[in-house]
Every structure is written in structure tokens, then in C-alpha cells.
């Protein structure tokens, strides 16, 4: 294969020359392998990793999050800032151009948001733009009247319909990608292969489910200068061939998602390095307040006392995940390990026993744990069995596990078929609120019937607070309430892992909680 690739690479090099400037970009193309899938290249039609990953490379957003940081910096904008908690003013960089040569102006920016909201694609992410959406007609959402103002070609002013300190972060997400108003239709998605943007790369070829070819965008003038002229992204339907491919050097980087066993084995391969960065994936157990067991605080707290997160991480995931003690992951401003403070780092069976005794609850308590076998990967069942084992070993519980395919699972957990059920979460944007509002307000998106007026009030307050320190205080307070009320039990945070050939550089730096694989920063040597 090495021989073949070299041979093809030779002719490919000639072809690669047809495109671009690349200004100092390397001719040495490389291949990224992933099991993520692309829903749509068009930013208005996607709400998933695979699509967003491509969009971060093809488009510019007003703001971006640089590798390893958490605060937004300007991207297509020269500057963006809050005038007050409901107003953001952005100035564009002068001379912006799309890869087809069209000028990028404030009108394109407004158009991008407008069409995203109005198309309201069922696979889209326009829900994130609620602060500039007029949803008085639920079935035909519109861009709010006067929500975006464009006084001149390089100025965009957002008027939010409520105080929203997370909106600056939303401006960094792929849903805020800026599209060309002369190319993208206003009322429907653009075909994947026709998508163009103003980002560091342009999409030279796209074969759905097979591969995407990115070539450096000659019109790109921003700070994200591409290091490689041509990059191939290969899509894998299963982790097993992805593992073989990286193991045997048929691809240069494997990013998302290899199994714990695969990673352990690849550590032994001298030709590749396994790079781990901090992740923001969150796995947690939700209490259903609608069941006899779930509605009793003493039981919820007792389980929080008993759960052995280190054992879960070690036994079910080979140590590839990090135990977590709060609803807000570490690294997010405002994070405190609230569960560790309240329940200790180590399991405390005696405390659990005492809690149940004080509440006059007869033991052993029959409890049903729910999991779904495929949606969150094959190791989910191991975590469920591990936790059930931990509960049973105390003699306080009679735990049994039940499973359902993802589809049924969703209805079942909402209906109260399980007392405690496992779910996973990836953030839409890097802000602590993304771990709070969706989870805690009136039963959360998962409908666990938890409702606490204090929490709701604090959420509103935190969203309207532009002072960083004051906001962190509120977020800390919320985490403490979660540890006390236990609407859910945090289990672990995932890592952002990539396996790369030894001749690749720049991989480790991009592995951060944003899960943006910044292709432009990576190059292959030799």
C-alpha cells in the first residue's frame, strides 16, 4: 500500500498544483480518518460533529475559539463586544472574500443567520439562535424584527430578545458560519458538493460517506493560514477498519472514535502516537423523579455516596475517561467539584446506610437502571453492569439493569421505566450554561420531572450576567444545588483523542474541549 500511495501521490501532487496558492503551504497531503458522518455541508442543515467539523474548516464565523482556549477571539470579525447584555456589535475584517471571489459583507452575515432560522431544517441547529429568533408562529420561525442591524458593509449589530451572555459563544459555533448570499438559496439547503465558504479550505470533492477532499482556499486572508495544500478526509462506518487503517499506516490520523482496547493497542505501535486532549463529552446518570425510588432524595443521595467512578472508568473504559464530580466539566469557568465536596472522592457505604436509615427507607431497595446498547457505544452496558454491581455489593440495593434500543429508550425513560438511566452529552458551545439550562430547567430536555424554582431563577440570572466573576459565583451555586438535590449523578468526562503518524505535527494542540479538529494547523513532514 505504501508503494501504491506513493505512486498515486506522485500523480496527485501534479493535480494538487492545479488549485492554489497555499502561500508556503506544504505539498505533502495527508489523510484524516473518522467514523463521524456528515449530515449536511450547508451550515443551515446540520447539528452534528461530522458536519460541523467540515464547516469549521470551510467557513469563517464571526468569532472562533483558538486551540486550548475557552474565550472567543475574532475570526471574520475584527472585533465583537457586548454593548449591554442584550446587544453585540461586530466589525468585520476589511477585504473578506469567499473562495469563489465574491465579497463577504455584513449583508452576507445577516443573510446567513436569517436563512438558517427560516429554513429551520429538521437536521439543523437553528434552535441555538433562539435569542435572535421570532418564534411567534411555532411552525414558521423568523429572524426577529430588527434583531440584526447592518448599518454599513462591515458592521453587524445583534439585538437579542433576552439577556444572553452565551450568544458570543454561539457566534463561534458552526451554526453561525457565514455563507455567500449569491450562492446559497434562501429557502432550502445547498447541495453538499456545491458548498463554498471563506474559510481556510475549500471543498474540492465530496463523496457522501466516503471522502471529502479539502484544498487550500487561495482567497483566504485570515489568521488561520492552512499548513497543507490538500487534505483528504476519509469516512469509516465502523471503528475496526479505522483501527487497521491507522495501525498499518494507510491513513495519517485517526480522530474519533476508536475503542478503549484499540487505543491501548495503538499505544504499543511505534509508528503512531496516541494524543489525548481534554474533552467535554459528559456521561451521567439521570434520576427519574416520577418513580417511587427516584423521588426520594435520601435514595438519590445514597447512590451518589456509593458510586465508584474510578472503578467505572477503569473497568468499563480501560481508563480512557476521566471521573467527574460536577455537572459542569472541569476547564469551564465556574466549575467546582461539587459532588466530591459533598460526598467525598471515595465511595462511602456507611454514609449511604445512615442516610437511608434516617429517612426510614427499608433496604434492600429494588432499583432499575436503564441503558441503551448502541447509541453511546458498546461499553455503555459495561458501565451499567458496573454500577449495578457496586449497588448490589453494598447489600442496600437490589439493582437490575434493563436496556432498550435508543428509540424506545427515549420514550421509556421519559415514561419512568427506569429509576436511574444513563445519558451522554456533547456541548454545542463552550459555556457552562450549556450543561445547566438544558438539564435543569423544569425536567430538562430528558423529562425527569425535576423542578426547582430557585434553580430557574439562578439560570436566568446567570444568562444575564456579563461580569465574569459574578457569573461564576452563580454557576458555583447551581452546582451545589445539583449536588444536594441530585437530579442526576455525573459519571465521567471523555477525552479528545487522536492517533497520528509520527510524521504529523500540530495534532496534539488542536485536541481541546471544542472538539474542533483544526485541519489548517496540521502538517505532514517529509
Amino acid at each position: 500500500m505504501v508503494g501504491t500511495l506513493a505512486a498515486c501521490g506522485g500523480s496527485g501532487g501534479g493535480n494538487g498544483g492545479t488549485g492554489d496558492n497555499g502561500g508556503g503551504a506544504s505539498d505533502q497531503s495527508w489523510i484524516l480518518g473518522t467514523t463521524e458522518t456528515v449530515t449536511a455541508m450547508d451550515p443551515a442543515g446540520s447539528y452534528d460533529f461530522g458536519s460541523w467539523e467540515m464547516q469549521y474548516n470551510i467557513f469563517e464565523q464571526l468569532m472562533r475559539v483558538p486551540a486550548g482556549q475557552s474565550e472567543p477571539v475574532p475570526d471574520a470579525a475584527k472585533s465583537c463586544s457586548y454593548d449591554d447584555p442584550q446587544t453585540i456589535t461586530c466589525k468585520l475584517r476589511p477585504g473578506l472574500k469567499f473562495s469563489n471571489g465574491d465579497k463577504l459583507t455584513s449583508s452576507d452575515v445577516k443573510y446567513s443567520f436569517q436563512r438558517n432560522i427560516e429554513i429551520a431544517d429538521p437536521n439543523g441547529s437553528s434552535v441555538l439562535l433562539g435569542s435572535i429568533t421570532d418564534s411567534s408562529d411555532a411552525n414558521h420561525p423568523k429572524l426577529g424584527d430588527g434583531a440584526i442591524e447592518t448599518p454599513d458593509d462591515t458592521t453587524v449589530i445583534f439585538h437579542l430578545n433576552k439577556p444572553d451572555t452565551t450568544f458570543m459563544k454561539i457566534l463561534t459555533s458552526a451554526t453561525s458560519s457565514i455563507v455567500d448570499e449569491d450562492v446559497f438559496p434562501a429557502d432550502k439547503l445547498l447541495a453538499d458538493s456545491k458548498v463554498i465558504g471563506s474559510g481556510p479550505y475549500k471543498l474540492a470533492q465530496y463523496k457522501a460517506g466516503e471522502q471529502a477532499v479539502l484544498t487550500a482556499n487561495p482567497n483566504y486572508s485570515g489568521p488561520r493560514t492552512p499548513k497543507t495544500k490538500q487534505v483528504f478526509v476519509q469516512y469509516f462506518s465502523d471503528p475496526a477498519p479505522l483501527k487497521t487503517a491507522i495501525d498499518s499506516g494507510q491513513i495519517d490520523i485517526a480522530w474519533r472514535t476508536l475503542s478503549p482496547t484499540d487505543l491501548a493497542d495503538l499505544e504499543k505501535n511505534d509508528n503512531v502516537s496516541v494524543d489525548r486532549g481534554q474533552g467535554s463529552e459528559f456521561r451521567y446518570w439521570v434520576w427519574q423523579f416520577g418513580t417511587k425510588v427516584g423521588k426520594q432524595k435520601a435514595i438519590r443521595q445514597a447512590v451518589a455516596n456509593i458510586i465508584d467512578r474510578d472503578a467505572i472508568a477503569k473497568n468499563a473504559y480501560d481508563g480512557t475517561v476521566k471521573p467527574t464530580y460536577s455537572i459542569v466539566p472541569p476547564g469551564f469557568s465556574g466549575h467546582i467539584p461539587a459532588f466530591k465536596t459533598k460526598y467525598g472522592a471515595q465511595p462511602d457505604v456507611a454514609a449511604a446506610k445512615q442516610l437511608l436509615k434516617d429517612a426510614h427507607i427499608k433496604t434492600p431497595i429494588s432499583i432499575t437502571l436503564g441503558y441503551t446498547p448502541t447509541h453511546y457505544g458498546p461499553n455503555t452496558v459495561d458501565e451499567a453492569n458496573e454500577l449495578a454491581g457496586q449497588l448490589n455489593d453494598t447489600g442496600l440495593f437490589k439493582a437490575q439493569v434493563q436496556d432498550a434500543e435508543w428509540e424506545q429508550y427515549q420514550t421509556l425513560y421519559k415514561k419512568g421505566a427506569y429509576d436511574l438511566y444513563i445519558l451522554g452529552w456533547y456541548p454545542d458551545f463552550l459555556d457552562a450554561d450549556n450543561y445547566l439550562s438544558p438539564f435543569l430547567r423544569d425536567g430538562g430536555f430528558y423529562g425527569n420531572n425535576y423542578s426547582n424554582p430557585t434553580v430557574n431563577k439562578l439560570l436566568d440570572k446567570e444568562l444575564g450576567e456579563t461580569d465574569k466573576a459574578a457569573r461564576e459565583k452563580i454557576i458555583e451555586q447551581l452546582q451545589k444545588i445539583v449536588a444536594e438535590d441530585v437530579p442526576l449523578i455525573p459519571s465521567w468526562n471523555g477525552q479528545n483523542v487522536a492517533v497520528a503518524g509520527k510524521d504529523m505535527s500540530g495534532v496534539e494542540q488542536t485536541l481541546d474541549p471544542t472538539y474542533i479538529f483544526r485541519i489548517w494547523t496540521i502538517s505532514k513532514n517529509g
Binding site: 495501525d247 475503542s259 482496547t261 484499540d262 493497542d265 473497568n315 448502541t374 458498546p378 439493569v401
Partner: protein, 314 residues
């Protein structure tokens, strides 16, 4: 009774007998494992510790765990033995269901002919035209709800695939046999439809059933494994299933951990092979045309012309 049971073996010779015997022994070994699993298996199928001691994770074969342990801390020997129970149950149930629905329909359809026949052929052909794995996947989805993710649901899901196969084969055998000389003869001497179907056609058609039966049994195991591979099979805490274990072990195999994938895989290959050998052996005994003719030369006997051409051996 014993004589009737062993007659297929006694009726064969040479390799046919060995094949049948080998198949029977392999299959019997698995059936014994299936029936006596609780007594033979050292541990439960979802047991990851004993006497409060955790089993090793992916431990290589050792005295305590002769076939090693897998990544779920389960004892592989126990999983293989309990797995036999699951597979045998699923196979027996699914083949039984499929035969009892597919064969009578095929017999009826082939014998009756006409519109009834066409309609049935039509429906069955449509069912048959679905890729069987897809059908199994969809049925597995459907049946998991009401029946849970266990053995019975899996068996029923597989049944749906095999009915059309029995129907097809039985029907076409019936349709051909209907025109055969001996059936014409029976009709000519005034035999009733029921008699013809029951005595002549059934006897003829039943011969092809063990062959498809074992083929399907084999196929059922493969399909079950395939469901496990795609992640829609029986869950590890519901029952031990080789396909599931195999799919979990695929990653290990690439990492040089051979015992987690070898033993469940071997179990699948062995049981499928055993079943197929039984089927082929049976086929040769039940189906006289496949038997080797001992007597090639035509002898002219004194009184009994019918025994002039003796097929097979006595």
C-alpha cells in the same frame, strides 16, 4: 424405537456414515452443553466475580479460566457453554416455527395450483426478495419492544426470514412431484387429494426439509451473530450469545488478544458445521438417488421383478 432412530446411520456406509456420525457427535455435544449448561459451566453467563473476587479483565487462559476471560470480566468457557443453550434454543424455535408455517403452506400451494397458489407464491416471493439480514434487523427492532431483547424475540425475528425458503422449496418439489408418474398413477386409481398430499407428496417433500432445516439452522446462527455484529442482538445480561461476544472481541483480535474472539468464533463454526454435516448425512440416507448403487448389473430374479434394481444397500 432405537432401531428407527439409528436407521439413518445403519443405512449409510463409508464416508456418508462418518459424515453423519461426525455431525451427530458435534451437534450432540452442543445440545448436551445446552441442556446441562447450569451444571457444566463453571460460572453464570453474566458473572464477573466469584466469592467477592473480581475476575481478571481479558485474562489469558489459565487454570481458573481455561479459555480466559473477556473485556466484560466474563469467563469465556462459561459464556461458550451458556451460549450453546441460547443458540440451540433460538435455532430449534426458529426452525420449528418456520417449518410448521412454511411447509404446510408450500404443500398446499404446490398441490392446489391455480389462483391460491399464485397468490401465496406472490406474497412469499416478495418476502423472499428482501435481504434476509434486513428483515431480521427490522423484526428484531419490532420484537424487542413487546418481547424484550432476549432469546424468544430473536427466534421469532429469524422465523420470518425462513418461512419463504421452506415454502419455496416445498412448493416447487410438490409442483414437480404432482406431475410425477407415481402421483399420476395414484390419481388414476382414484386416490383422494388428501391421500395424495399426505401419502405421496408429503413423503417426497419431507426429504428436502432436513437439508434446508440444517442449512437454515446454520444460517440462523450466522444471522444471529450478524445481528450481534451490528449491535442489535441479544444483550449480554439477557443471555450468553456467541455473536455478541464475537463482535465485542473483534477489537481485541487486532490487538493480539486471540482468546476472546477464537473461542466464540470456533463455537459458531463448529455448531454450524455439525448441523450441516447432519443435514448432508441425512440427505444421503433419506434421498435414495444420492445413495451409491451397490448393484449396477441387472439381475433377472425368478419371481420378484420389483427388486431387480436394488438401490443402496440393505
Amino acid at each position: 424405537m432405537f432401531k428407527t432412530l439409528t436407521s439413518p446411520i445403519r443405512n449409510t456406509s463409508g464416508m456418508a456414515r462418518w459424515i453423519l456420525l461426525a455431525g451427530l457427535i458435534i451437534t450432540a455435544a452442543f445440545v448436551i452443553m445446552a441442556i446441562f449448561a447450569p451444571w457444566i459451566a463453571p460460572y453464570g453467563f453474566a458473572q464477573n466475580s466469584s466469592d467477592g473476587m473480581r475476575f481478571p479483565k481479558m485474562g489469558p487462559p489459565s487454570a481458573a479460566h481455561p479459555l480466559g476471560t473477556n473485556d466484560q470480566f466474563f469467563d469465556i468457557l462459561s459464556r461458550v457453554i451458556w451460549g450453546a443453550r441460547t443458540e440451540v434454543t433460538v435455532v430449534v424455535l426458529s426452525v420449528l416455527f418456520a417449518v410448521s408455517v412454511g411447509m404446510p403452506l408450500g404443500l398446499l400451494s404446490g398441490f392446489l395450483g391455480g389462483w391460491a397458489d399464485r397468490l401465496m407464491v406472490f406474497v412469499m416471493d416478495v418476502l423472499y426478495s428482501f435481504p434476509s439480514l434486513l428483515l431480521a434487523i427490522v423484526f428484531a427492532f419490532l420484537l424487542r419492544g413487546p418481547l424484550g431483547g432476549g432469546t424468544f424475540a430473536a427466534a421469532l425475528a429469524l422465523t420470518a426470514i425462513y418461512i419463504p425458503q421452506y415454502f419455496r422449496v416445498v412448493r416447487s418439489t410438490t409442483a414437480s412431484a404432482r406431475e410425477a408418474t407415481y402421483v399420476e398413477a395414484a390419481r388414476a386409481i382414484g386416490a383422494r387429494n388428501g391421500t395424495i398430499m399426505g401419502r405421496y407428496l408429503f413423503g417426497n417433500v419431507i426429504q428436502s426439509v432436513p437439508v434446508i432445516g440444517t442449512l437454515n439452522a446454520a444460517d440462523a446462527i450466522s444471522t444471529l451473530a450478524a445481528l450481534g455484529f451490528i449491535g442489535l442482538g441479544i444483550q449480554p445480561t439477557d443471555a450468553a450469545e456467541w455473536g455478541y461476544d464475537l463482535s465485542r472481541a473483534l477489537d481485541d483480535a487486532q490487538s493480539g488478544i486471540w482468546w476472546t474472539t477464537l473461542f466464540p468464533g470456533l463455537a459458531i463454526v463448529l455448531l454450524v458445521t455439525g448441523l450441516t454435516l447432519v443435514g448432508e448425512g441425512l440427505n444421503e440416507t433419506v434421498n435414495p438417488t444420492l445413495r451409491k448403487r451397490r448393484f449396477r448389473k441387472v439381475r433377472m430374479p425368478a419371481n420378484e421383478p420389483t427388486s431387480a434394481l436394488v438401490e443402496g444397500e440393505v
